[in-house]
């Protein structure tokens, strides 16, 4: 695992080291050149001084060095060297420090002084200045520039050499100093960075701890890191938003499971209580028949509910494979009405059919039938006794519309907006728990969506309750439910709920 801290610190240290080495080298070269130039300047000054102390008098070169400080040219110690040649190459002067040895006589054109490194007679490194000059002519004006030689005045060559040891020593000290400063700077930078990054990352550790403490059983918890760095704040914020969404999803899921449990337990409790109480003592035959009929009714409703649930869950999971084929909506409506007719008669409902001819549509017949059946069933069960039900179909450009209106709605539009929530029931429906499990219209909505259609509810308390289903003429291919094959044959399809 690569450590962010190690990488950060290492790269910073390397970067700092490169910068420092470059800067140190530049500084070193600058200082060295400066020192050498200074050194050379001093040497040149001395050479010029010596040159000016040279006279030409009466055809004879006269060195008046005695008036100058010639201590450095003495033998022993760390001497400087001085040698003067006459034009013919013969040595005119040799400093005592030379001890008979020679310096290199510079060659080349006379004029500018020649400066450069040399190996000194004692074998050490030094620098020398070579100067070709005309001595001062005593009594006859000034020494001229070497270019304009007076006749008879010889051009002397003077070489002055000095040890560079003092300069070198200083340069070594400089090198050591620069290296030390560089090393300390890199080390301090790395150290400070190491600590700072660790401090900074401590909130990452705390954040990790907080995230680790998030438990799926308690999603109400929010991640709170004190003094969270600005860079991490968006992460924390995103995580908290994620937690909010997760909590909502879990809550929905939990609420749904609780609802499922509740809705299944209630009829189960009815079955169990009925049977236990009945079996507690011997009864007459009609009593048993009565209880059995009640139990059967409860069982049929439970079965319908379980099937509704199954279809819903499968639609949600995309496990229902649609098989679109040409169907006639009106035929589906008539088929779906069949099992409801008796119930509608029993409730003395006035029916009005307004089925317009609209040709074929291409849709999954089972799913379409499920939608139609549930919408009709809802109307038959919720219309007021002796009320009216209008069943209407109409063709539109790209869709067909199926509308069912029943009288005696007890829901306001605001309440009706809840009908697509699973297990939601108007208070009126609740007293007859088990008959309307609160899954019919949610299923209609989900199934209509799978068919590419829409469902709209309009309701007026004490007035009409309308369900408007709009289905496209051609179900779009690649339907949302086409993910996995359910592998079920049409006959075994759970779509059509049993008629109550």
């Amino acid at each position: 695992m690569r450590s962010l801290r190690t990488r950060l610190v290492a790269s910073t240290a390397v970067g700092a080291a490169v910068v420092l080495v470059a800067a140190g080298a530049a500084l070193y070269l600058l200082v060295r050149d400066g020192l050498v130039a200074q050194f050379d300047e001093a040497m040149l000054d001395k050479a010029r001084l010596l040159a000016s102390a040279t006279e030409f008098e009466g055809g004879k070169v006269d060195l008046e060095f005695d008036e100058l400080d010639m201590g450095e040219f003495a033998a022993g110690g760390r001497p400087a060297y001085l040698q003067v040649w006459l034009p013919d190459g013969s040595v005119r002067y040799r400093s005592p420090s030379l001890g008979g040895k020679d310096l290199d006589r510079p060659t080349g054109p006379a004029g500018e002084p020649v400066l450069g490194p040399v190996v000194l007679p004692d074998g050490r490194a030094g620098r020398a200045v070579g100067l070709v000059f005309s001595p001062r002519v005593e009594g006859g004006g000034r020494r001229d520039a070497p270019g304009r030689q007076n006749a008879g005045v010889p051009a002397l060559t003077l070489v002055l050499a000095r040890h560079v040891a003092p300069v070198e020593a200083m340069l070594v000290r400089l090198k050591v100093l620069l290296a030390a400063v560089g090393a300390v700077t890199v080390a301090v930078t790395a150290g400070v960075l190491w600590v700072a990054v660790r401090r900074g990352l401590r909130s990452v550790d705390r954040l990790a701890g907080e995230i680790g403490a998030v438990d799926e059983a308690d999603l109400a918890r929010r991640i709170a890191v004190p003094d969270v760095p600005a860079e991490l704040a968006p992460v924390v914020e995103c995580l908290n938003r994620l937690l909010v969404r997760l909590e909502a999803a879990f809550e929905r899921e939990r609420g749904f499971s609780a609802d499922v449990a509740h809705e299944l337990r209630t009829p189960l409790a009815g079955l169990r209580a009925k049977m236990e109480v009945t079996l507690a003592r011997p009864r007459k035959l009609p009593e048993y028949e009565d209880v059995l009929r009640t139990c059967l009714r409860i069982t049929v409703r439970m079965q319908a509910m379980v099937e509704h649930l199954l279809v819903l869950v499968r639609l949600d999971a995309g496990q229902i494979q649609l098989c679109p084929e040409p169907v006639r909506l009106n035929a589906v409506v008539r088929d779906a009405w069949h099992p409801l007719a008796e119930r509608a008669d029993a409730r003395r409902l006035r029916l009005e059919w307004r089925l317009a001819e609209h040709g074929h549509i291409v849709a999954d017949p089972a799913l379409l039938s499920l939608v139609v059946h549930n919408v009709l069933e809802n109307a038959v069960f919720h219309a007021d006794e002796g009320g009216s039900v209008v069943v209407e179909s109409a063709a539109q450009d790209e869709a067909v519309r199926f509308r069912v209106v029943n009288s005696g709605s007890c829901l306001t539009q605001a309440e009706a907006d809840h009908v697509f929530e699973r297990f939601w029931r108007g208070d009126g429906a609740r007293s007859d728990a088990g008959v309307h499990c609160g899954l019919g219209l949610p299923l209609v909505k989900r199934a209509a969506e799978a068919l590419g259609g829409t469902v709209t509810i309009r309701s007026q308390a004490g007035g009409e309750f309308q369900v408007i289903v709009s289905v496209p003429r051609e179900t779009a291919t690649g339907s949302p439910a086409g993910m996995a094959s359910s592998g079920r044959s049409r006959a075994a399809s759970p779509f059509r709920s049993s008629a109550p």
Binding site: R272, E276, T278
Partner: protein, 224 residues
């Protein structure tokens, strides 16, 4: 003993009411929350069985209203919701017991009996008055070790008197606790039942155990 049953799911309501009646309880049953609250506020109940999900006024609201009225009637909450949160909420609001659907009817019965016993602050499941022993769990009464042959109504009156042994119980009290809301009030009926009870209790020349207090009512066990 009289029980109020508030449950909106008809199969559960009818069969629990039937089972309770057959076990000797008087039962008022309703499927509506508001009606349930009205019953609970106006009637004399030894226990209330309350479903939480009700149309109109839900069970928790009824419970809160009763406790706000300082009504101490024991309440058994009956619900299909079984999360700890739901249970805790019910108990915090003053429910005395909790039963999750689906339940065994015998367990419901046993729990209701415990609630009734607790109401009369009895520790023992068997009520003893002199040589009379009543076991509400079994619905039986013995005198001197011999089981008495009682009808459900006779037994109900005897058990009610036994719960209040030594205290004077008025006819209307007996009526309130032994008869349903639907029964026609008739205090003569109580006298008739008490007379029959005495006959059973005094079989074999045993001493009188239900005494009449003129103008007040009856008292079980206390002589004179």
């Amino acid at each position: 003993m009289k029980v109020l049953l508030v449950e909106d799911y008809k199969p559960v309501r009818t069969s629990v009411a039937q089972g309770l009646r057959e076990a000797g309880f008087a039962v008022d049953a309703t499927g509506d929350g508001e009606e349930g609250l009205w019953f609970a506020r106006t009637g004399e109940y030894d226990a209330v069985i309350l479903d939480l999900m009700l149309p109109g006024t839900d069970g928790l609201t009824i419970l809160r209203c009763l406790r706000d009225d300082a009504n101490p009637v024991p309440v058994l909450v009956l619900t299909a919701r079984d999360t700890v949160r739901d249970r805790v909420r019910g108990l915090e609001l003053g429910a005395d017991d909790y039963l999750v659907k689906p339940f065994a009817f015998d367990e419901l019965l046993a729990r209701v009996r415990v609630l009734v016993r607790r109401k009369y602050e009895e520790a023992s499941p068997v009520l003893r008055v002199d040589d009379l022993e009543i076991a509400p769990a079994l619905g039986t009464a013995r005198r001197g070790g011999r089981v008495l042959d009682l009808t459900a109504r006779e037994y109900a009156i005897l058990e009610f008197l036994a719960h209040r042994a030594g205290r004077v119980v008025s006819r209307s009290d007996i009526w309130e606790h032994v008869y349903d809301f639907n029964a026609e009030p008739n205090s003569n009926v109580i006298d008739v039942y008490v007379a029959r009870l005495r006959r059973r209790l005094e079989e074999g020349g045993r001493s009188r155990i239900i005494h009449t207090r003129r103008g007040q009512g009856y008292v079980l066990g206390e002589r004179g």
